[in-house]
């Protein structure tokens, strides 16, 4: 099982802008599908106009992941509209759901109206951390954003994901730097570190980390990659 660190029915992926939530969400949805689950991924990012999980619709659907996103017309018009089908994830308990949320407390605001429904379900609010993003590189600021997201959504975070990278310039050392930050945030908050995200080539060099290393392949490529 590639995604056994993620045992709850609904995974809600939050974090600071640009920490790599979408890359993690897409890879997580694919891993859950590979493990045999019936998976739906909801693109609920109302902040970012580009690099959205819906851009990988074909890839996801070919892998058996159903993608839910607001219509192109709504999102390209900057209308913060949410897809009605989202309720399928919240109500159908046979579905494993991954919710890809926009950055910061402002992006997480979309969850607030669904809070009463979400708390009835087996969910996990995941906080994605990237130690190379200047605004969350210290324990204090990383916790500040985490608490801000919890306050906005009315949900409780129960897992930290270390997704520290530098795009094409990532090294094992970078991932370890993020692991140290995630560990400190975990110690301070009591929230466990769920996994460390690493491109497959880095996985063997990280086997000594106490938590799971989640192997990914980059799906949100830039046009020249």
């Amino acid at each position: 099982m590639t995604a056994d660190f993620c045992s709850h029915r609904i995974s809600i992926i939050t974090g600071h802008y640009g920490t790599g939530k979408t890359e993690f969400s897409v890879n997580l949805a694919l891993a859950l599908a590979e493990d045999g689950a019936s998976v739906m991924l909801a693109d609920l990012d109302i902040v970012n106009p580009y690099f959205r999980s819906r851009e990988r619709r074909k890839l996801l659907e070919e892998a058996g992941v159903r993608l839910i996103s607001s219509s192109q017309a709504c999102s390209d018009a900057d209308v913060p509209a949410l897809p009605a089908e989202l309720l399928t994830i919240l109500e159908n308990r046979d579905i494993r759901g991954v919710l890809d949320i926009g950055g910061d407390p402002v992006g997480a605001r979309v969850l607030a109206r669904f809070q009463p429904k979400i708390v009835q379900e087996d969910y996990q609010l995941i906080y994605v951390l990237n130690a190379n993003r200047p605004e969350v590189r210290t324990v204090e600021t990383a916790i500040m954003y985490l608490r801000g997201i919890e306050a906005t959504t009315g949900l409780t975070c129960s897992g930290i994901v270390n997704n520290t990278h530098l795009c094409g310039e990532t090294t094992v050392e970078e991932i370890r730097k993020g692991a140290a930050l995630a560990e400190s945030v975990s110690k301070e908050t009591g929230i466990p570190v769920l996994c460390h995200v690493a491109e497959e080539k880095f996985v063997p060099a990280l086997s000594d980390l106490p938590e799971t290393v989640f192997p990914i392949t980059i799906k949100m490529k830039k046009p020249w990659e």
Partner: protein
């Protein structure tokens, strides 16, 4: 210094603050809204002033006023918003004031799309406002270069008392890239003894103005501006040539298409095709002489111009520079669609085949 991961628009704002931007006047529009958002939080921390204006027109006129008082003033917007600023830009150019304007370009015309575009080349380089004026146009092709250009933009503006535009397409504004904060050499700049910031013991008031009622005086003012533009054209032209030394097919591109072209070059070279890239970095002044000389080289057989524009805009400057020495073909998309590596490879091969 260790690299950090920055989003293009945030990095533009941070770089402007580090370059000593005193005040920012803006209005939100996708895909550049992170610039004013970041400025609103961080510029006041450095003693600067952020104002969200009531419109783009108001914002550029606030820039006009603040620049006239000797401040390092800046605004940013995206295509339709930049259209609204044109009147202010021509006033700033006419009154000879330094100002920095960032255009994070999206697809047009009109409201177009929020996806990336390059259809504002004519507007930026030909002057979208009225009258005979020029705006220096810097065109970075990645986040690091964008960051490095912000101080240069302010310095060039101050040195020549002229508006400087930094054009990047929406992709550069929206993408995350590792960057490092480098020390950019500061220029030795003239004092702003022309600023309308109080009399300060002078024997005259400084006046900021673009109105010259007397035709002779207005003509003389235009001649003076023209001499200044000639000086800028001589000193500030920038471009990059990649693998052009032996290239048979040369791709001309700026911004994101130039970035895509680098991948296409590798693939073409691996296929035994001698391909190169000529990337204008200043769109005005355009690197006309360098491109003319490259076109004259015997090994160069053909050019392929690639833009995020329906039938091309920079291609006019490429044609003027190449002056018919070699054929020029075109590949482009508008409306937020980006040219792909595969399309570039195919178009380059086709262009080369046509001359053989």
């Amino acid at each position: 210094m260790a690299k950090e991961l920055w989003k293009g628009n945030e990095a533009i704002a941070e770089a402007a603050i580090r370059a000593g931007c005193d005040c920012f006047f803006g209005y939100p529009i996708t895909p550049q809204s992170e610039v004013p958002e970041y400025m609103s939080v961080h510029l006041p921390e450095h003693g600067g002033v952020f104002v969200q204006a009531e419109s783009e027109v108001a914002a550029i006129n606030m820039v006009y006023g603040a620049a006239g008082a000797g401040m390092r003033a800046m605004t940013s917007s995206s295509s339709p918003g930049i259209s609204l600023k044109q009147e202010g830009i021509t006033y700033i150019a006419g009154a000879e004031l330094p100002a920095v304007i960032v255009n994070c370009m999206r697809g047009g015309p009109g409201l177009g799309t929020i996806q990336p575009g390059q259809g504002d080349y004519f507007q930026a380089t030909r002057g979208g406002g009225n009258g005979d004026y020029r705006t220096v146009v810097l065109s970075p092709s990645n986040v690091q270069e964008t960051v490095d250009f912000m101080q240069e933009a302010f310095d060039i503006a101050d040195q020549y008392r002229n508006p400087v535009m930094v054009v990047c397409d929406g992709l550069i504004g929206q993408m995350m890239e590792p960057i490092e904060w480098r020390e950019i050499p500061k220029r030795n700049l003239p004092p702003k003894d022309w600023a309308a910031n109080g009399r300060k013991g002078r024997d005259h008031h400084n006046v900021i103005n673009s109105l010259y009622m007397d035709p002779e005086v207005c003509d003389a003012h235009n001649r003076h501006l023209d001499e200044k533009y000639a000086e800028i054209a001589k000193n500030e032209v920038r471009w990059e040539e990649v693998q052009c030394e032996d290239a048979e097919i040369v791709i001309t591109a700026y911004g994101t298409p130039a970035r895509i072209a680098l991948t296409a070059l590798d693939a073409l070279r691996a296929d035994g095709i001698k391909a190169g890239l000529f990337r204008p970095i200043t769109l005005w002044p355009f690197p006309e002489k360098a491109l003319h000389e490259l076109a004259a080289k015997e090994h160069v057989k053909a050019f392929l111009d690639v833009e995020m524009s329906s039938s091309g805009q920079m291609i006019d400057d490429v044609r003027l520079a190449v002056e018919g020495q070699k054929p020029i073909s075109y590949l482009g998309h508008a409306g937020g669609v980006m040219p792909t590596v595969e399309e570039m490879i195919e178009s380059a091969k086709k262009a080369l085949k046509e001359v053989q």
